[in-house]
């Protein structure tokens, strides 16, 4: 018989518990009701800060939404549980519903703790815990910004949450100062040396830090709201908004009222199977006091959820102990702490590398024989975190110091992780499980392994390690995971791009000579177009210029799109989809004269099909004379900038989307890239241009433009994600310039922006850091490169028509340039021509009455 599991609380751990139960309870022994206080589905609280850097609440969604459509799962939002009746085994909610349970799980999490200081209840004092807290803070700061040139914010608390809150304040455009009661920042996780390095890095971001700063009173401003903080040392800090991030307390009030055993410092006391003092009630996550403590991190919460589910299904799982490793996700600052970070183990040795100039502090804690890794602190450069953390409690190969030296130094030895080493602590995935995904489940790339094991799907900090493990495992199976372009180049496209750019070589022969694997090789259909594409942005020249002509795919070579019968289609550029009646008439006349099949494309322009190679120059002469230019529909390059009609005509439009689309299309036309690029511009939030389905989507707001990146349609549709908000037009263009060129420089061959954003260093955050904060110091270079592209753009069809040498490539036959390809055959359909099928050709050859003709087929209306 189906039993009823009631989960109190709708946070990340509750979500994980439901997910785990539905994954493992194949027979449907448990139906689950989740009673949540917040009015929304469980969301990614760890990523709360990113809500400030522009994402909307939906982007914080966790896991697969279909979980909540499962008939055995019921989620009641906005219905807080107010009482537990342990004798009757029921819970009662605020709305008066009584829910009976066979087993109850408390996953109520914790609440922000506000110290009892006078003024903590004033308007303008916020906590930082939920989406609603964050939204309220955002609203308040935006209201202040309307009347004040500078909004001064203070964060009480210099821990993980406090620093995230400070980053959030800054992202909102407020000044931020962190007031830390103790001697250094993040004192729970890192030592004094690390705290000092962190303070310098945080200062470098423009966030103020005051240490040993105890706030004794929050004073109101005479015009309302907060105005000033009084400090214990007699100092004062003027403020307009205060965020209290002084710590959290477990939400154990229900359990207290139900007389469950409560820990000394709060929390529902549970054993290693997550059972409370009542065998029908478990507690998981931050509300649980397990092994004597409440842990405010998501990974141990997930582990508890797995244990609780296992027990409900008759298993014997035990909580393995809290993994308190943490990694701070404040843009631009890397902090990680794991294991015995303070060296409290008896006899522990510390190896420290500190470079105050570079803002780096790294420490490893080792056993007394200096071999076994016990813990560590990494500030300023946490790149070693992913590979070191799983080595906790194990012997490090070689000299431990090698793991701390900057990249390019001696280099850390390669770590061969034992199978039971945990790689993804969010989802508790071991190295062995990841290897198994490759060896037993046939996964051949990181994406498949992520889907199969869930590794790296939560915080993503282990992804570099997952990538490495997958690569190593595939290599062992003899599957080539080399990033080499092809047999002619051992480099990846991104490496080759850098090599060509830095070396300044401009021809394929030079590229082969400098970077090829074999001097005798003359490339292939993979590397030649890739090199052509690279040279197009490192040393711009016409597609048919000299040796470059030999590198082009037929589409680029004849500047048209090859169709199935060997004929081509022609697409003139129609920037932003805006076309005059005269232009339309010209296109119609050309189509009529050459007997071309016409179709409107998805990119708001017109495709003319069935042109023979020898007709292309004639067709283009007509189009160029009428003012049209190449639409690059054939290129791995900018295709179109789709737009809605915008504020000039639309009743709802707030910005002139057509004007911006035309400007963008003319700016980026002809830009060669690893794959095609499409842009979209919508004039208001109704999004009629479907801009979020594009590589770069721009949506108008009252204040400017929101910029989305990494969307596409096709085989794997993806919505573009928000990169920046409310940009003015100049900043918008500069940001798109950099985004596109950063993509052009670093993407793999035929990799569109969506997978690129997922895989490029740092993901979307990394892209944001590069294009908005210039974290790589390449912005000026990218800007100059785009300026050069815009400067040197020429219509490649016009240039071709002006050069008889280039026109010779369009002959149908080298020895009979006036003879049309006799193999082409067409039949009429719906008033236009289409290629004849094999059956129709055969029938015509047998003399049956099938209307088959060349492209000049006369079509009856």
């Amino acid at each position: 018989m189906t039993q009823h599991l009631v989960v109190v609380g709708g946070g990340m751990v509750a979500q994980r518990l439901v997910e785990a139960m539905r994954d493992r309870d194949a027979d449907g022994r448990w139906r689950i009701t989740v009673l949540a206080e917040e009015p929304r589905r469980p969301y990614d609280r760890v990523a709360l800060t990113s809500y400030f850097s522009g994402r909307d609440a939906d982007d914080l969604a966790l896991g697969d939404a279909s979980l909540w459509d499962d008939p055995l799962v019921s989620l009641r939002r906005d219905d807080k549980v107010v009482a537990i009746d342990r004798a009757a085994r029921t819970v009662t909610t605020e709305r008066g519903r009584t829910e009976p349970y066979d087993h109850l799980v408390l996953a109520t999490g914790s609440s922000a703790w506000v110290p009892p200081i006078e003024g903590a209840d004033l308007e303008g004092v916020f906590v930082y815990r939920t989406v609603d807290d964050v939204a309220a803070l955002r609203g308040y700061v935006e209201q202040l910004k309307a009347t004040k040139p500078v909004v001064r914010g203070a964060v009480l608390g210099g821990g993980l949450l406090g620093l995230e809150a400070a980053g959030a304040l800054q992202a909102l455009g407020a000044q931020a100062t962190v007031l830390q009661v103790g001697t250094h920042l993040m004192s729970t996780q890192i030592d004094l040396g690390g705290g000092e390095a962190l303070r310098r890095l945080i200062n470098g971001l423009g966030v103020g830090v005051r240490l040993n700063a105890m706030t004794t009173r929050i004073r109101p401003h005479r015009r309302g709201g907060v105005g000033r903080l009084d400090m214990a040392d007699g100092g004062r800090v003027d403020v307009d908004v205060v965020v209290v991030a002084a710590g959290v307390r477990p939400r154990d009030e229900l359990a207290r009222a139900a007389d469950l055993v409560i820990g000394e410092r709060g929390g529902v006391v549970v054993d290693d199977s997550c059972l409370s003092s009542d065998p029908h009630i478990s507690a998981v996550g931050e509300v649980a006091c397990i092994q004597g403590q409440c842990v405010g991190l998501v990974a141990p919460g997930y582990a508890m959820a797995e244990v609780a589910v296992d027990r409900l299904l008759g298993g014997a799982a035990q909580f393995p102990g809290a993994d308190t490793a943490t990694k701070l996700k404040l843009a631009g600052v890397d902090v990680a702490s794991f294991g015995d970070a303070f060296g409290t183990t008896e006899g522990a040795l510390e190896v420290v590398w500190a470079d105050p100039v570079a803002g780096v502090y790294k420490k490893l804690v080792l056993s007394d024989d200096a071999r076994t890794l016990l813990g560590g602190v990494l500030v300023g450069d946490a790149s070693a975190y992913a590979s070191l953390r799983p080595m906790l409690g194990r012997e490090l190969p070689g000299d431990p110091a090698a793991f701390l030296l900057p990249e390019g130094g001696a280099g850390a030895p390669d770590l061969e992780l034992p199978d039971d080493a945990s790689v993804c602590s969010c989802n508790n995935v071991s190295a062995g499980t990841i290897r198994g995904a490759v060896t037993e489940h046939g996964c051949t790339d990181v994406g498949a392994v992520k889907a199969c094991t869930k590794a790296g799907t939560s915080c993503g900090s282990c992804l570099p390690l997952v990538k490495k493990l997958v690569g190593t495992e595939l290599a062992k199976q003899g599957i080539t995971v080399s990033s080499a372009l092809c047999e002619h180049f051992a480099l990846s496209r991104a490496q080759l791009y850098d090599a060509i750019r830095v070396a300044g070589v401009t021809s394929f022969t030079e590229v082969v000579a400098r970077f090829g694997t074999d001097l005798a090789g003359r490339g292939c259909d993979i590397c030649k177009p890739a090199v052509a594409s690279i040279l197009a942005t490192t040393a711009p020249a016409h597609v048919l210029e000299g040796e470059r002509a030999a590198l082009q795919d037929t589409n680029d070579h004849v500047m048209a799109n090859l169709q199935k019968d060997g004929s081509y289609s022609v697409v003139p550029r129609i920037p932003g989809g805006e076309v005059t009646p005269e232009g339309l008439i010209t296109i119609g006349e050309v189509a009529q004269e050459f007997g071309l099949y016409t179709k409107i494309t998805g990119g708001q322009r017109i495709d003319l099909f069935g042109a023979r190679i020898d007709q292309l120059p004639l067709i283009w002469q007509r189009l160029v004379d009428a003012g049209f230019e190449s639409g690059h529909a054939y290129g791995k390059s900018l295709r179109t900038v789709k737009s809605c009609v915008g504020s000039t005509w639309c009743r709802f439009g707030v910005q002139d989307s057509v004007a911006l689309a035309v400007l963008l299309e003319l700016r980026y036309r002809g830009l060669r890239s690893p794959h095609k690029i499409k842009l979209g511009v919508s004039g208001c939030a109704r999004e009629c241009a479907e801009a979020r389905g594009k590589d770069v989507g721009v949506i108008a707001t009252d204040k400017g433009w929101n910029l989305y990146v990494g969307g596409n349609g096709g085989f794997t549709p993806r919505h573009a994600r928000l990169l920046a908000e409310d940009l003015d037009t100049e900043t918008l263009i500069r940001t798109i310039d950099r985004f596109l060129l950063y993509y052009v420089r670093t993407a793999d061959r035929l990799q569109r922006t969506a997978p690129w954003v997922d895989e490029v260093e740092g993901g979307l955050e990394g892209v944001r850091a590069v294009v908005l904060d210039d974290s790589l110091g390449i912005a000026a270079d990218l800007d100059a490169q785009m300026a050069r592209h815009v400067e040197e753009y020429e219509d490649e069809w016009r240039a071709t028509l002006e050069d008889p040498e280039k026109l010779r490539r369009f002959a149908s036959f080298v020895n009979a340039p006036d003879t049309a390809d006799p193999s082409l055959a067409y039949v009429p359909e719906r008033g236009q021509a289409r290629p004849a099928t094999a059956d129709e050709r055969a029938a015509a050859e047998r003399g049956e009455p099938v209307l088959v003709a060349g492209t000049t087929l006369e079509v009856r209306a």
């Binding site: 003359r522 490339g523 292939c524 259909d525 030649k528 199935k564 019968d565 080298v814």
Partner: protein
């Protein structure tokens, strides 16, 4: 391997097709010889090779528009063309299909290409006929 522009003994007649200068280096060009469509390829060393213009994997007459390159086959660097339609790779000297990319030829066509002997005399490209083979067995021999 024999020298590429040495005519096989069986070739009876040579047809002048075009000047070497009419062919772009490392690209193909279509030619009509005795009513048949050929694809001529001028390699980096100015030698010229000829195969059928029809792509057996799609039936369209397009092979001259493919990308010319090389491929290592058993310690030898083989000149190749990749079909512009679906990227099947062919050995330009023998016509052999080196990579069908998981596809089969259309009904009635062989995966390997017909080849023609080619010689360059005083800057004129000549194609030998009748054709010496229907496939790689005798091609280039």
């Amino acid at each position: 391997m024999t020298v590429l522009d040495t005519p096989p003994a069986v070739t009876a007649t040579w047809t002048a097709v075009c000047r070497l200068d009419d062919l772009a280096p490392e690209r193909g060009a279509a030619a009509l010889v005795d009513g048949e469509q050929l694809a001529l390829f001028r390699l980096v060393d100015d030698s010229v090779l000829a195969v059928q213009q029809q792509d057996p994997f799609c039936g369209a007459f397009v092979l001259s528009r493919g990308i010319v390159g090389t491929r290592h086959v058993a310690d030898e660097v083989v000149p190749t063309v990749a079909s512009p339609m679906h990227k099947q790779v062919f050995d330009l000297r023998t016509g052999a299909c080196l990579d069908p990319v998981g596809k089969a030829p259309v009904l009635g066509l062989a995966a390997d290409l017909r080849t023609w002997p080619v010689r360059v005399v005083d800057g004129i490209v000549e194609v030998g006929g009748p054709a010496v083979s229907d496939g790689p067995a005798g091609g280039g021999a």
